[in-house]
């Protein structure tokens, strides 16, 4: 195996890219089958998809929208897939996401004097801790008492969301103000330290976070950075930077991409991920190999919850800048299909989050231009999940790998052996 013949490099690459190829084919197949539905409905699927695509990627503005939708889904998708891989079926990403958003907002409206480079990481840290806190409760219950985490994480969603709604209705302490929006005097209590409601507004919503806590806009960065020094004089560069869509884009998708890489390393190149995956595929064998299974489950729940919480902070810091009722419903639950379509692999998660983001961003345009209802988007999603799961079951990756390695050893003049275990006698 020391010198690999060059001819098989492509097959090796093919194997490696299967976590991308399966989602791609699943998504294409989903579009194909949904096309039949659109025809039956009486519209032209090609036109519908063209409108969908235009709505998602057609203009810089559309791309900006898609990117905004993608970022939180990457985090919840990573949260769910890390949990799934490690035998901790985290159905609670929704609640963790909401708590993360709440915590990030609270930091962003409380520590208003801090500079951005301190405040942004602090918001993110608070969000991660909040998400991790919510997830570690089921983690501890599973690890130490054998509770089924599917139930506990699912039910804690409601607890978290109710808490979120409650916090939205408790006025946030402001030292400079002592009357509410309708000029009633207000007596601050310690509860107001927890609440996030904007005291100057009648609605249950938080004040906007301070500007320093907002994620930098791409336009702003380009006006000051290295690229500006290089191309600052060029007309096209000025035009590009001045484009409102470019100004709307933030660093959120890039941060999401960074976390995709980080999670790849955690899963496949670090001992934490090795132990977590071992517990995920077979907790008994993992225990027999000396892995502390309960501890691994607890750590997994912390990591998974922290990722979902970070997703909440990305939405607050990068897009909405405040929390409102029903702030971003389903970002957490959507993490489950994102993870499944992405083959529970960080790169696949990014791709399927992009798919989800594009569907969300383009659906309106499709309905406006071709009258195909938005709900078709959910059919496409559901079919993509089915195809992705079916594709994973085929385990083509192993088959191609066997074929390639067998050829390789044959070429090297060794004895090719790829027996399949035969059950029984």
């Amino acid at each position: 195996m020391t010198d690999k013949p060059k001819t098989y490099i492509w097959q090796a690459l093919l194997e490696k890219s299967f976590n991308i190829l399966i989602p791609v084919f699943a998504i294409l197949a989903a579009f194909l089958i949904s096309g039949i539905l659109i025809i039956a409905w009486g519209a032209n699927p090609l036109e519908a998809y063209k409108a969908l695509l235009a709505g998602a990627f057609g203009t810089p503005n559309a791309i900006a929208t898609t990117m905004t939708r993608l970022s939180p889904l990457v985090f919840t998708g990573l949260a769910v897939s890390y949990g799934y891989r490690s035998g901790f079926f985290n159905i609670g990403a929704e609640g963790q996401f909401f708590l993360g958003a709440l915590a990030a907002t609270w930091v962003g409206i409380t520590f208003t004097n801090l500079p951005g480079w301190v405040l942004i990481p602090l918001c993110a840290l608070a969000a991660a801790l909040a998400g991790a806190f919510l997830a570690v409760i089921p983690g501890l219950l599973k690890a130490l008492r054998g509770f089924n985490e599917v139930l506990t994480t699912l039910l804690l969603n409601y607890v978290a969301i109710q808490y979120f709604e409650w916090a939205l209705r408790i006025e946030h302490y402001r030292p400079d103000i002592n009357v509410t929006w309708d000029d009633k005097p207000i007596k601050w209590t310690f509860l107001n330290w927890i609440g996030v409601k904007d005291v100057t507004q009648p609605f249950p919503q938080s004040p906007g976070i301070v500007e320093a806590a907002e994620l930098p806009k791409l336009g702003t960065l380009l006006k000051t950075g290295l690229l500006n020094q290089l191309f600052g004089q060029a007309h096209w560069y000025e035009e590009f930077v001045a484009n409102p869509a470019v100004n709307r884009m933030t660093l959120a998708p890039i941060i999401a991409l960074v976390f995709v890489v980080i999670m790849y390393f955690v899963l496949f190149r670090m001992t934490v991920g090795f132990q977590a995956r071992a517990v995920g595929v077979n907790p008994d064998a993992a225990r027999f190999m000396g892995i502390n299974v309960p501890r691994t489950i607890i750590i997994t729940s912390l990591i998974s919850g922290a990722l979902a919480g970070l997703g909440g902070s990305i939405e607050v810091l990068g897009a909405q800048h405040r929390v409102i009722p029903n702030f971003l419903v389903n970002a957490g639950f959507d993490g489950i299909p994102v993870a499944l379509i992405g083959q529970l692999h960080p790169a696949g998660v990014f791709l399927s989050a992009l798919f989800f983001g594009a569907l969300r961003a383009g659906a309106n345009k499709m309905q406006i231009l071709t009258q195909v209802p938005i709900s078709v988007v959910y059919v496409i999603q559901a079919l993509a999940i089915l195809f992705a799961i079916a594709g994973a079951l085929l385990d083509l990756q192993s088959k191609i790998k066997i074929a390639r390695l067998a050829k390789q050893t044959e070429a090297a003049g060794e004895q090719p052996v790829a027996e399949k275990e035969v059950s029984g006698a």
């Binding site: 001992t271 595929v281 077979n282 027999f288 192993s398 390695l405 399949k420 275990e421 059950s423 006698a425």
Partner: protein
Amino acid sequence: MTELLRLEKICKTFPGVIANDNVDLSIERGEIRALLGENGAGKTTLMNCVYGVYRPNSGKIFWKGKEVHIHRARDAIALGIGMVHQHFMLVPPLTVAENVILGLPSPREPLLELSKVEAQIRESGEKYRLLVDPKARIWQLPVGIQQRVEILKALYRKAELLILDEPTAVLTPGEVEELFVILRKLAEDGLAIIFISHKLEEVRAICEKVTVLRGGRVVDTVNACDTSARELAKMMVGREVFLKFDKPKIEPGEVVLSVKNLSARDNRDLPAVRGVSFEVRRHEILGIAGVDGNGQTELAEVIAGLREATGGTVSILGKDTTKKTPREIIAMNVAYIPPDRQHTGLLLDFSITENLVGKAFWKPDFSRSGFLSKKKLDLFADRAIREFDVRTPGAGLKAKLLSGGNQQKVVLARELSGNPDLVIASQPTRGLDIGATEYVHKQMLEARARGAAILFVSTELEEILSLSDRIAVMYEGQIMGIVPAQDADIHEIGEMMAGVRRLGEAVGSGEKMG
């Protein structure tokens, strides 16, 4: 005229393996037929074709002279074929009668009426000496009785042909004899019986016609009584087998493992190990003999730190390890080969490399501050694969794609490549063919020569006898006696395995038998 089942040119292939190659077989009513062959000879595959679990690639099956197509087990049952699998298909929380009727309509649909079923079970129980309490719950019954339930299940479904897959694997010698009595009575009543076995002695004991399979083909059908064990072995393996081999005499060294008055419970929280004491020294193999399920597995798990001791102590190289975690014990250079490589020995969905470092990935050899060194892992895996002769096209392959023997080589490579001071081998040859078994034995002897102390648990008496320096026999959680291998008497050991006699008072366990 009385032919019940005929197989003609049955072929069954799996990717890369020919499991059955043009097999012909004919079974008559009232006949007991043994199917003898090594693991992997295709015995179970052939019977699974008859029972509808697999469909043969080609060939014909005739039932009472008519060609039949059996697509699923239900078809086979409808024809009158019953099969008792090696791993019983019973629902533990249900009663015997409930298990017997499972999947069939009740005598009084839609109401569940068990009294009739229970009566019928008692009736056939008396007729064939298959005595079982129909109201007992399966999990409360010993395996020997569970096997009877499986047979009753087939009889209740009006089986005319009964297939038993390795029925004696879980039985004591005494229970085996009882089973044979039952089988004879069933045969007298006109039932045909096929039983699968890889044990020469029991095939000779039941003394009927035996069909020998090797490499998926029928070698011959002979009368077991007229054929010597040696001849049968030769037919089975295709060459002369030397069950005894020369093992260099080495003086045992210091005490590595010392177990004192150890007790532990099994998964059902019942006492499994009861006051066991022994020592194992360097350069020494202590064989633990006994019928499966007499506490050997639990004993090995307690020593490896995987099961809590309820009493007594374990010390390794002078240090008390009774309360240590599995990883702490691994760190003391202790190897443990679990009995079930598919479930607890390997992570089947992990690559070979990942499995090879499964117990050592956290050591500084392979990782630094939480980051795995891919280069070091690959280097180690390549070397281990070469050293232990794992036949695989590559180290990146998932462990589940290897054959059983190669899977066990991966386990051995993981456990033995670090030159352990203590090796706990719990049934390391279970389910392996003769070649792979020989390989495991060789590795054990090499570890012994290098100075390891070895605790070798096996239910196969022959390998215990040929491999061990001393032999301890376990029965119901206690050690019935420890004898040096050179003056071991097989009958004496057999009796101890059945709990009949314990050797002297000076040896082994403390408390009296419960």
